[in-house]
């Protein structure tokens, strides 16, 4: 513990206004200094009272609906994680070969899908980079047509990042429009993963670069946007996938 009490900094620390370099010094000090810890606790109480002085504004009613829905989605995931740890010993041993077999099937399925699309699509054939991507372990998610009932898509996201999207059944667009793929998170802006156009038969093969973890994503969707793409979705959803295991 430093002998010098950070008297001048405690108030700023409680307000969250200390420069990063001083944070650790203050935190280390209050661990061992009862007087400063008590003073900091008083300041934290004052800080917690400050918002009560604001003119209260009621939150929008839909906020709780979103929170509640997301909490319900998260709970089963956690339960599943707990239930895995309670597997009998023989099943815990057997799960790794089973997982390996599943991954092998996934790779075969992706390669088959890639070849099939290459054979059928008159558009640009996936290059060696996409072919290599298809052989990596990852997750496949099916998108169903909502605003475009005849359309469907599969998105593959590799566990170590990167992925690709195979689309069929979307109508070709005029020059000034594009399709855009979105990863939608709870309580945060949607993230654009790709913009693309389809060929005359309504198909496309697109490399995507998801910048977010699928664990944080509650929905994947495709919308129609202006040719330059949009910072947030503006068109109605044409294809959607949500929530997945």
């Amino acid at each position: 513990m430093s002998d010098e009490h950070p008297v001048e900094d405690l108030a700023a620390y409680a307000l969250g206004s200390v420069d990063a370099v001083d944070n650790a010094r203050i935190e280390a000090h209050v661990v061992d200094c009862a007087a400063c810890a008590a003073r900091l606790r008083d300041y934290e109480f004052v800080v917690s009272a400050l918002p009560y002085g604001l003119v209260p504004v009621p939150p929008p009613p839909e906020a709780w609906t979103t929170i509640s829905a997301s909490a319900q989605i998260q709970t089963p995931r956690k339960s599943r994680r707990r239930s895995r740890s309670r597997l009998p010993a023989w099943l815990r041993v057997a799960r790794w070969p089973a997982l390996a077999a599943l991954l092998a099937l996934l790779v075969i399925w992706n390669v088959t899908l890639e070849r099939e699309l290459t054979r059928r699509s008159p558009g640009p054939a996936p290059g060696p980079e996409v072919e290599a991507l298809s052989r990596r372990p990852g997750r496949v998610i099916i998108l169903g047509g909502t605003g475009a009932p005849n359309a469907s898509a599969r998105i593959f996201v590799a566990v170590d990042g990167g992925g690709h999207l195979a689309v069929s059944g979307l109508p070709p667009l005029q020059r000034e429009r594009t399709y855009q793929l979105w990863f939608v998170r709870t309580g945060r802006p949607a993230v654009s993963a790709a913009t693309f156009r389809v060929d005359s038969s309504g198909r496309a093969w697109v490399k995507v670069e998801p910048s977010v973890s699928l664990d944080d994503v509650r929905m994947i969707m495709v919308t129609e946007e202006p040719a330059s793409g949009s910072p947030t979705p503006t068109g109605g959803d044409l294809l959607i996938a949500r929530p997945w295991p």
């Binding site: 008297v7 001048e8 900094d9 405690l10 108030a11 700023a12 409680a14 307000l15 969250g16 206004s17 200390v18 420069d19 606790r41 008083d42 300041y43 934290e44 109480f45 004052v46 800080v47 917690s48 009272a49 400050l50 918002p51 009560y52 002085g53 604001l54 003119v55 209260p56 504004v57 009621p58 939150p59 929008p60 839909e62 906020a63 709780w64 979103t66 929170i67 509640s68 997301s70 909490a71 319900q72 998260q74 709970t75 956690k78 339960s79 709870t186 309580g187 945060r188 802006p189």
Partner: protein, 206 residues
Amino acid sequence: MRRGPSAGAGAEEPADPELLRRMRLGDEAALEALYLRYGGLIFTLALRIVGDHELAREVLQDTFLRSWDGRETFDPGRGRVAWWLMGIARNRAVDLLRSRPHQARLREQTRLQSGTHAGEPAQPDAADAVVLRRLVIEALERLPIVQRVAIELAYYGGFTQTEISRHLEQPLGTIKSRTREAMERLRQVLRAALIEPTREPGQRRE
């Protein structure tokens, strides 16, 4: 919807630690009770910081989802549930704020500084919140303006002491002194009324 620290709280309403205990067992009703108790306050705080209803809603949602995700890691020894929630909300809101250009943030804070700690309470049913609001408003009004500005830029503006010093063109030591003096004054004024470490919001005052 009830809002505030113990809005409408009766003796039968569980205290915050009890709600956290139930949340750890997966009880979503406890999360809802916590939201009813603090959702309005968190939204008001977020709106004051980010100045935009849509962003404030994002902060509100994120705060309660993070509290749900982190319900097993909350340490009561480090403070109250309300402090924890406000800390999550304030950090998230400041993160959003910091993604904006610096000058835009300053303009925003200058605009928001006037009148945000004034006006009549909108929820006269929340008796404790009304008293608390009045106390805080009066305590802030008693501060010299330079001290109040230092507090508001720090807490609601998300600025560090160094940034405030640059913005106000005052020595860093002066800003630190103003901040400390303001907090000391607030502590003294609010102490008798507020600092009751054994009482959690949601519990009735004796």
